[in-house]
Each structure stands twice: as structure tokens, then as C-alpha cells.
Homo-oligomer: 336 residues x 2
Amino acid sequence: MASVTLKDVAKVAGVSYATVSRAVSGSPEISEDTRRRILKLCKEMGYTPNSIARSMVKRCTNILGLIVPSLNNPFMSELTADLEIYARNRGYNLMVCNSSYDHDLELEVFSLLIGRQVDGVIMIPVGHEPYESLSALTGQVPTVFISENMQNYPENYVSVDNYRGMQIATEYLYSLGHREILYFGARSDSKTHELRLDGYLSSCKKLGLEPHVLRSSYSRSSREVGYTLASDYFSRPHSETAILCAADMLAIGVKQAAYEAGIRIPKDISLMGFDNISFSALPEIDLTTINQPTQQMATSAVDMLLDHIRNPEAAHGQLILPPALIERRSCRPIKS
Amino acid sequence: MASVTLKDVAKVAGVSYATVSRAVSGSPEISEDTRRRILKLCKEMGYTPNSIARSMVKRCTNILGLIVPSLNNPFMSELTADLEIYARNRGYNLMVCNSSYDHDLELEVFSLLIGRQVDGVIMIPVGHEPYESLSALTGQVPTVFISENMQNYPENYVSVDNYRGMQIATEYLYSLGHREILYFGARSDSKTHELRLDGYLSSCKKLGLEPHVLRSSYSRSSREVGYTLASDYFSRPHSETAILCAADMLAIGVKQAAYEAGIRIPKDISLMGFDNISFSALPEIDLTTINQPTQQMATSAVDMLLDHIRNPEAAHGQLILPPALIERRSCRPIKS
DNA sequence: TAAAATAACTTAAACGTTTACAGTGTTGTT
DNA sequence: AACAACACTGTAAACGTTTAAGTTATTTTA
């Protein structure tokens, strides 16, 4: 597996290895004749540039780090796929790390990526980070967050407008006639979730509804968490006609619990999510939800990061993308 | 963002930078006193070893490449998560590339990863690869495939026993009384699929059933493909009492088509999948299927790859893991 | 036609580590 | 007391590139 280097090619070509380097890297200060000759030779000899050595001298690796809390959540894995494809098209590879919804691990892999000399980091934070521990890291490498968790920090981030999204959701349920809407699965360790909750609360206020909030003490919004919380909820008396979930995965868990409790959706109770993961479109799930423009979030995050790598002195950018209502059949109108 | 190097630490500590290197890398030939003193200084000065430079001289990067056809498929994304976590625990980071079910792109990113000097590659191939194009690449870097597509090639691979898995599935449906079983979504460009189909065919022969095979001309087994094929199937006369799908995602697409065609599962027709993706456990999907032991596949693939990196002369390893029936409620018994 | 500019190439230093080898001082052995 | 053995530390080369500076040959300019 010993690979052929510039020197090997240079020896055969009878030129200095600087010349080979110039031929390969497309420098202008070389004649077309020799370039062609050398490039042909490179191909014959099976020369592949060693990007490690190149990184060494160029002081950049063309590698981006990506930190995600999970890949089992389709929202995250679809976002990851979009990020990887777009970054690759822009000449960067992705080093992916799973933080497993663990704050400490998140910081640990961040350090690890810095040691790896990545040119930048894209992070979907687990929750609301204490700024001190994080800024020590973001100070070392250009970073873009996908989340509003960094809202009040001087950091780059892209996000959907979570606040507005939940307003849209609440208003939609109201327009169907729902007056008692349960906000399901509020996490207090995440700015994103805080904003979603605030969106709901503000709409309640505006529409004259009394807020009903079911909080979650878990640090992730998985199907299992939704199932657990909802099983408990359904086992006790409740008056709400609609459940507005903080995330689609929660709603899927709620659906499962509802099914087991003999509660039909949307006949007995309406259900809404947030994220619009691909599975929500299945006829068996058929979940009305709020769309996050994942593809646009991915491209924007990469663009923002590359801009910041090129110009580290630039001001931090915040990009808030518009959410959209995706109407399916998990909600039904109420006659009051 | 200029980082502090060995030299900087050495200057402050008043020692040669070889000594610092030894302190950091845990070499035995250094006194405990100086080690402690230097390590403390490193921490104070915020020294992070440059793994690029280390890779340069050590001739290994501790990076593994991973090539997956897609991350939108939960089977792949869960596998990816397991691979990443396990590899990281063994000291390796993962560079993930999406081949988007594209044969040419698959080879392209493989070359790219080789240029990146990854120590090894794990690949979930799109389908049955022509050996010539691939061996030129696998000859350059230790590689492990997760798939039986490489069965007759001298390559490392781990896989579930696809043949046996489909036998189990067919026998199960037979035991429920099904005598006309449609094998759905057979791909001819994949050894894995070929083995699954062969498993079905062998069971048919053994049980005295006439095989019914619906072939797919698509190179991926997605929900969309399942939906498209099934919509067509349901629109025409059919006599089968059970559909055995080549993959869970196909079955989910079939379910959607059945729903739209007014066909109830399992009342009107039984449905089975293969893979046991997490969504198949949802009560709304509730798909009887064959389990692939993803976690074990992930750890075995990493172990196999690291073994092969350490000992490149070792014989190629093939690991076939046992499948298991996961009984849910998408199949019902038939009275004949 | 001589000087200046340009083109094409070579030389050598640099990037930040690791490590073989050499050097120094201390301890142990006889 | 002399020498070997040992523990520690320093020196310098190496890894495979890029690129500034230097060299030579050729072309342009006045």
C-alpha cells in the first residue's frame, strides 16, 4: 500500500518535484507541454496527491466537522445527508460525530475535531449551552450552529423561525375550532424549545386561550419520550381537544400511546407536530405539522461557514428561515 | 486562530521539543517530574496536538471512510450512527460520504477518501459492483463491505444471512397458511437481493409453492419505489394472499399504496418486510419482518477493518450473522 | 545590440510532529 | 576507583507537499 509521491514522479519525469507539484495543482508558471507530459505520467504511475501533506503546508484541511445529537431521528439524518452532499460539492468533506444527546460528549468531540484541524464546525447543539465552555471552543475554529440555541450569543447560526412556526400551528388549531390545546413535550434546556413554547403562549394570549403545557424533563425529543409522557397523560383525566407537539417524533410516540389507550386520532383528539420529517407523510402517520426547510438550512449553514472560514473577521450571521404549515389528516375541525 | 505548537511549549519550558513530544505522547523515556511539569504547561498554554502533523510522520490518520448509498433510509442511518460511535471509542473518526445510490459517485468518493489518506474504508455498496473498477481501489486501502454483494470476491465483508432470512420469512408465511406469496421488489443489480430472492425460491421449492416474483428495475429500495410498484400491482388482478418485500422501506411504500387502493393489511392481504428498521415497530406500521443485527454488524465491521489495518496480509474475513423473525401484526393466518 | 523583462524551471525552507541516534550525568557493580 | 549500565534529554532527519527566492535561457524593448 506504499503510495507513489511527487518525488517518484519527478524522478521518472526528470524534473524537480516542484515542477510536478505545479503541474498537478494547476499553477500557471509551467509550460503546457511539460504539464501534459507530467499529468500523463502521474496517471500512469497512479499518483494520488497526499492531502495530509498538503494540509500541513496550506494550513487548511478542507474538512468540516459535524456534531449531531443523533442520527436515528430522520430530521437529523436527512439534514446530515444534505449537509454532506452540499459540502462535498463545495470541496469539503465531513467528519461526523454523534453527541448522543450528551452535553459533555458534545464538548469532547468538539475538542477532538479541533485537534483534527477541521476548517470549521457545524453543530446541532443538544440544548442550551453554557456559553463559557462553548466559547472556548468556538474561539478556536469557525463554527455555525443549526439551532436557535445560540440566539443571544455572538455566534453564527441558521434556524427555522421556531417562534413563528408554533404561532402558525396554534392559529391553525384555533381556526379549526380548538379552544383547549395541549402543548406537549416542552423542554426547558433548549432555546429552540423555549421559542416554540413562547410562540404557542403568545398565540394563546392573542387568541384568548388558556395555555396548557405538558413539560418534558428529558433532554431529547424521541418517540420513546413521546410515548412515555403520553401514556401517562392519557391515563389521567384530560380535557384538551388537540395536542400540539414540540416535535414530530414526539407526536409519533403520542400516536402510539393513543393507539394503545384506544384513543383515535383525529376523531377523539387532534394531533400536530413540528419538523415535517419524511415519515410524517406516510398515510399511517399522516401528521399535520410545521415544515423546516432542511435543504435550505443545510446549504445556508455550509455557505455561512465557508464565508466565515474565508473571512474570520466578518460579523456573525444569523439566518432565520420561514416555517410552513403542512396540512394532513391528524387534525379535525371542532364544532363549538 | 493561530495555535500553539510543541515548539512554543518547549521554549517556555526550557526543554527541547522532543521532550515535550514525549511528555504528550506518553513515552516512557521521560522522568515523571518533567512530564507533569510539561503537561501542566501544555494545559495552561492551551496546546492541542496537531493530528495532521502526527499523521504525516506516523503514516496513519486514525480516520475511516464510510460510504453509504443514503442516510434517508433509517436502516442506513442507524447503522451509520452505530459505526461512528463504535469507531470513535476505538480511536477513529469517520469521514462519511453519501453515494446517493450512484455507482460512479461511489467510486469517485472512494478515490477521494484514499486521497484523504483514510486508514480504511467501510462501504455499503449500491449494488453488485464490477470487480475490476473496485479492486483497483480496495487494493489501495483496507476495506470492509457491509453487504453480501462482494460474496465471490476476495474482500472483507459482514452481512446478515440474507438467504436464510428469506427462507425464514417464507416458511413463516407458509406456516400461517399462505400458499400464494408474492416476492416483491427483487433487484437484479445486487447480490444481497439475489440471495434474498434465492432464499424465497428455495423455500418455495421445498414447500411445493409456485414462486410469484415482482421485479424492480430501480436501483434502490425506497418507500417511493415500493409505492410505485405496488400501486401498479394493486390496480391489476392479483391472487396472492401475502406480499413478502425485499426491504422494510418497500413494505412501507406498499402499505401506502394498499391504503389508497382500499386494501386492508392484514385483513385483505398479509405483508412482510426485511431489515427491521425502527419505524417498523410503530403501531401504525406494525410490520412483521426479519431483523438485521445492525449493532453487531457495525461493531464487527469496525473490528474486522481495524484487524485488517493492523495486519494487511491477513486473509479476508467473511462474517455472516443470523437473521431473526420479528413477529408483528401485518400478517394473518389463512384458513385453507 | 545591450539591457530589461519574461518564462520555465530548480533549490530549499517551511508546516508540526515522531523517533533513531547521540550525548550527558547518575547510579550500581566489582 | 573505574567502568558498565541506565535514565533522561537533546539533535536532527524524516514524512509529502507548497511556495518564495534564485537561476537560466529566451524574448522583448529601446
